[in-house]
């Protein structure tokens, strides 16, 4: 026990001796939260719209007016040829163009229907999808208006209308949604990188040779190595939550105890992975490379940036093995929805199994002699 305490003390001395470590540990959550939470915002505003109006009628200008009035669209220009509009898209000055045919108003009045063309730059698929959806909604709205005018009140309404309201995040606030997830990344980064790098560093500079000929037991060394980072990562989480609360007004609907309880378990998994990586590598460079490989996959498939539900089925199966996905979900469930212990029971059991498997493998693979 005394030995473990002493190793831990030594680790803390070494970690904080490095001048950048302490500031970095506290700056990291602030910087990451502020930059990422603002940048990782899916709401698309200021879509640049180009108009090709061949009709120049009362109706067509009303439609253009509706687009101008929308917060989502910026009308950046207009022309009479679709080629000009296409060039605008090519140059990146416009994201989409709306082409109104010459007989738009006449057809609407005479044939009770007319065609419109929307051409969307789909290089950025997410933005294109949203632009398309927003534009369609505006056109539909316009459609209803003119039907009401032409056929009398009530006629324009479709027989069934859907009104939606967003639960647990009523204003669809992206900060509320993103910040808990970003905190997961932060904790994962600290757990997986710092722990893995730390042990490999001992290998790289040869200090492990000297340690291995001492009576230090395997478990003492491993606990002594991992515990400091477990503590630091938990402190990061606490600090990050505080920042999230102060700056982003993140709701704390559920129990914080539950969040930290799960984090404690989750960190065992992440630290175990770091430890395992350190047992299969010889240099910090190798460890870094492997850690990044896993981290990128874990993060991109965590449901933080793209919903897991919209992934193809095979990818959804893969996310079942992604610890980051579990923690992101738990953070959102507990903080935003107020889920209790029983609601995240499955997550806890999976993490428990994961922690035992990963750490078991890492300890088994750690050798004091070759």
């Amino acid at each position: 026990m005394r030995t473990i305490l002493f190793i831990i003390r030594k680790e803390f001395v070494q970690i904080f001796r490095h001048r950048v470590m302490l500031p970095l540990i506290f700056m990291m959550p602030i910087i990451q939260l502020i930059i990422l939470a603002h940048a990782a915002d899916y709401e698309v505003r200021n879509i640049n719209l180009f108009i090709v109006d061949h009709d120049l009628s009362q109706y067509s200008s009303r439609l253009v007016g509706k687009f101008q009035a929308s917060a989502h669209f910026n009308v950046v220009g207009s022309a009479f040829s679709s080629k000009t509009a296409f060039d605008e898209i090519q140059q990146g000055d416009a994201d989409l163009f709306l082409e109104i045919p010459a007989d738009f108003q006449r057809k609407l009045l005479r044939d009770n229907g007319a065609g419109l063309q929307l051409s969307v730059d789909a290089v950025n698929g997410v933005k294109a999808g949203l632009a398309n959806a927003y534009a369609t909604a505006i056109i539909q709205d316009f459609n209803e208006e003119i039907r009401t005018e032409a056929l009398g009140p009530g006629a324009g309404k479709l027989p069934l209308s859907i009104a939606s309201s967003n639960w647990f995040n009523p204003e669809l606030n992206y900060f509320t949604f993103m910040v808990p997830g970003i905190l997961v990344l932060l904790v994962t980064l600290v757990g997986m990188f710092l722990s893995g790098m730390n042990i490999v560093k001992e290998k790289e500079i040869g200090t492990i040779e000297q340690i291995n000929v001492t009576p230090i037991r395997k478990y003492q060394f491993i606990i002594g190595k991992l515990l400091p980072f477990w503590v630091i990562a938990n402190m990061e989480l606490a600090f990050g939550l505080l920042v999230g609360w102060l700056i982003f007004d993140i709701p704390f609907v559920g129990s914080l105890w539950l969040v930290f309880g799960f984090a404690a378990l989750y960190l065992l998994v992440v630290l175990g992975m770091g430890l395992f990586i350190s047992t299969v590598t010889e240099t910090q460079q190798q460890a870094m490379f492997i850690a990044w490989f896993f981290l990128i996959i874990f993060i991109l498939m965590s449901g933080l940036f793209t919903p897991i539900e919209s992934m193809p089925p095979w990818a959804q199966h893969i996310t079942r093995f992604n610890p980051v996905a579990y923690f992101v979900e738990v953070m959102r469930m507990v903080l935003l929805k107020g889920s209790g212990l029983m609601d995240i029971k499955r997550h806890i059991l999976v993490m428990l199994g994961y922690a035992m498997a990963v750490n078991g493998l890492a300890v088994w693979n750690y050798r004091k002699r070759s």
Partner: protein, 306 residues
Amino acid sequence: MSNQFAIDIQGVSKRYGKDVQALDEVSLQVRPGELFGLIGPDGAGKTTLIRILATLLLADEGQATVDGWDVRKDYKQIRRNVGYMPGRFSLYQDLSVEENLTFFATIFGTTIRENYDLIRDIYGQLEPFRTRKAGKLSGGMKQKLALSCALIHKPSVLFLDEPTTGVDAVSRHEFWEMLQRLRQKGITILVSTPYMDEASLCERVALIQKGRILSIDTPANIVGSFDKPLLAIRTDDMYRLINDLRQFESTHSAYPFGDYVHLALDGPIWAEAVHAYLVGKEHTGIEIKPAEVTIEDSFMELMSKE
């Protein structure tokens, strides 16, 4: 298991992969309290042997005991009772001198004060710098710190793997004096070195090459086993000199030795005959003198017999 030897190695072999035979049935015994030298060029297998004895590496074949403990089964006892100083500086560079020493004392369940007697000579010189980070020490001071850390738990056997490699001549000399004093305190010391001149400072040495022991004896006996006349020769054209001497009919061996070429001869040949031969080969500035046999000459001789 009782054993009269502090270190007893019987037929130890170790391979790395398919091609590298690092150790080939090595056997040697070190008596308690002995200062034993493992002498050989780089890649001879010195480090491998020490790592096996320090329980860092498992031998493929053979048996070895340290202080009577088997390196394979009783590694826990060995780790508690030996000191090991790896060839590469292996202390925490970002910890201070004192923090390093305290750390190693603590993990052995002791304190600096408890065993201060043993390291007084060595650590005493470091104490003025005890708050300095280990990474900022000079080579000689690093080596003293490493030795202090290896000694802090009062080991009965000390393994030193090339402790003087990369250390200046003065520090090397000091270091060997420290080893002599440690020996007087009853600690068995196994030290490896590529420097032949350090062999004479050991009580007994083993000459090792390509994983095999060539000879185990006292330095004096190893030198004494060299039974050929030996000349030190110098001329203005040293490169041509070696080639010419190797073609001389009575030459047993010729190899560079400092500023001279050492020439071992088969049978009693006068220096005048060699001189005449070299004059015939148009050498100028010829200097020939009888050479005192050193352990390096013996080693070259043993190597050439292999």
